[in-house]
Symmetry: C2
């Protein structure tokens, strides 16, 4: 597809997806396949791009979660419609694809699994969050050439490590990928990835390389900073304490509906979780990128930036006790927000 | 299908699903369709029954969560393969199907949506947990004849009510169904359902009836007992306090792995959540059925019943303060366990 042609097709598909036009979207995808476009390209250029736009539109409050779910449902239908039924024997080996433990966003892993299958790999996709013990039992029986772990958000980093560790204990190499690692492959290495699963080509060349010379898998488990783990496990309670303080700092909260209060609590919990994620891999941009995202989400819903700033301030006293370096990160986040356009 | 024939077919499909044999399972389902079985029957008798068996097998520790996810993935593929592409205009009206807010188990709602579509309804399935505000925006635009809310477990009852309330505020009648209401339709009425969505025939006859004589929708919101709501919102904290007490009551806990400790905490939280669910609808069998289920889950994983009993005892002091009638329910639960075979 050339660029112009592609943009037209993409927006045609994207509109049908948002509008719940499953039949039209499925026929469109099947026609693209019939006219010679590869499954892998359709998945990557149409489905994944449309899904990403859906996320961006939600962020800007242009569509609701319900619209998002409708679009995802249509895209899933189209994905199944173009999925390989792989009549021949897979020739490129076998992989198991799992989401990070705790990560319920399975669509990206599903799309990537179908891309891999379409080029001749035997793929088992384990779907959303699977406990690492169960992944262990499964791959011990199946013995795939590699385990691929997908992770949509940095808050599931500890769930990447728990799965990578069980694979390594069995001598199975691990490829980690997903949106949480885009532009920052070193994060994946810090979590135990033997190589980064950036895109289809990356994974294929890595697997080809490993077929030639099998990797030496280090079965020593990755141990994440237990102090940060403790912070993560306390995020609900820290958020509740910060919420109580925030009610004294930001008076409009007293007018919030129960739902708005729940969302505020949830945001405070995410702030703690993203702080922990940034600390796990020593990368503060995880935290500032999250703040920029949350700031746009809130402002497009008419919540002023000062509310977010006061939320961070309400958290600091909790964090300086629980995790001083997390407290410093949040302090840096305040400076970041003050300078944000 | 007659019964013998059906059992054979079902177990053939079920084995393929557990074994990740997507192609075989899809071909089997498409062949069933070609040989004259209706989509609705295939979905209900093969897919839904197989999914239920998967749950039972997990409960008895015969399969892992990974196996469960593989089987669900195969079943989803087969479901898409037999899904109606509804070339003609839907003639029986339109519905929106949503999962209860908080309920991430979307498979049953997806299967039910496809059953409804296959007989001539225009169906929009909103997928897993959608916030009620977003459901409201969506159905206000679409104006379906009815909203169907599916709920897999009683712990999502408050998420049924929040969605039913927004539909009623817009004058849209609500049908509630799902595993949480099986054999107990009165629970659905207590949560605001205008009629119970037991199975396909139920829903079709109710919608036909409503087409003849549109229901008077009461737009007064259902208000759940706020004391129980408070209990529910505190379940994580109460579970943590009970866990601390349990470590003194049940010494083997000191030997638990971090993962086993996490699971114990999670079980304690579920106990609180199921207590709240039973209280919301005044039906203590919700709590005792959950205990019987959890007892089998734990014992098949070599956790003795006494651990569960001590878990309940550790919770009682928390509950008698937070919610005395919840405390009495847990006390009854202890008697129930003592008499369980």
């Amino acid at each position: 597809m050339n660029a112009v042609d592609f943009d037209d097709r993409l927006s045609w598909f994207h509109e049908r997806a948002l509008d719940g036009k499953t039949n039209e979207a499925v026929r469109f995808a099947v026609d693209l396949l019939a006219s010679g476009h590869s499954q892998a390209r359709i998945i990557c250029d149409v489905f994944a791009t449309s899904q990403r736009q859906v996320g961006d539109e939600w962020q800007r409050n242009e569509i609701s979660v319900a619209d998002e779910h409708v679009a995802t449902g249509v895209t899933e239908s189209a994905l199944y419609a173009v999925s390989s039924d792989q009549q021949g024997e897979p020739t490129l080996g076998s992989v198991v694809v799992a989401c990070a433990e705790g990560d319920w966003h399975s669509m990206a892993g599903h799309m990537f699994s179908e891309q891999l299958r379409s080029v001749g790999l035997a793929v088992t996709f384990l779907g959303a969050s699977t406990p690492s013990d169960d992944v262990a039992r499964f791959i011990q029986r199946r013995r795939p050439d590699a385990l691929i772990v997908t992770c949509s958000l940095p808050i599931f980093f500890s769930g990447v490590v728990s799965i990578a560790n069980v694979a390594h204990a069995l001598g199975i190499p691990v490829l980690v990928g997903g949106r949480a690692f885009e532009g920052a492959p070193e994060r994946a290495h810090r979590l135990g990835s033997d190589a980064v699963a950036g895109d289809l080509a990356d994974v294929l060349s890595r697997l080809a390389h490993w077929r030639e010379s099998p990797p030496a898998v280090d079965n020593e488990p990755i141990v994440l900073d237990p102090r940060v783990g403790e912070l993560e496990s306390q995020s609900t309670i820290l958020a509740q304490k910060a919420f109580a303080r925030l009610t004294t700092l930001y008076s409009p909260i007293s007018q919030f509906t129960p739902r708005q209060k729940d969302r505020t609590l949830e945001d405070l919990r995410y702030i703690v979780d993203f702080t922990a994620a940034a600390e796990y891999v020593g990368d503060s941009t995880i935290f500032t990128e999250f703040l920029a995202w949350l700031d746009e989400v809130l402002r497009s819903r008419k919540v002023p930036r000062v509310a977010l700033q006061l939320g961070l301030e309400a958290l600091i006293p909790e964090l300086v006790t629980a995790d001083p370096s997390g407290g410093r990160l949040v302090q840096e986040g305040l400076e970041f927000l003050a300078n944000l356009g």
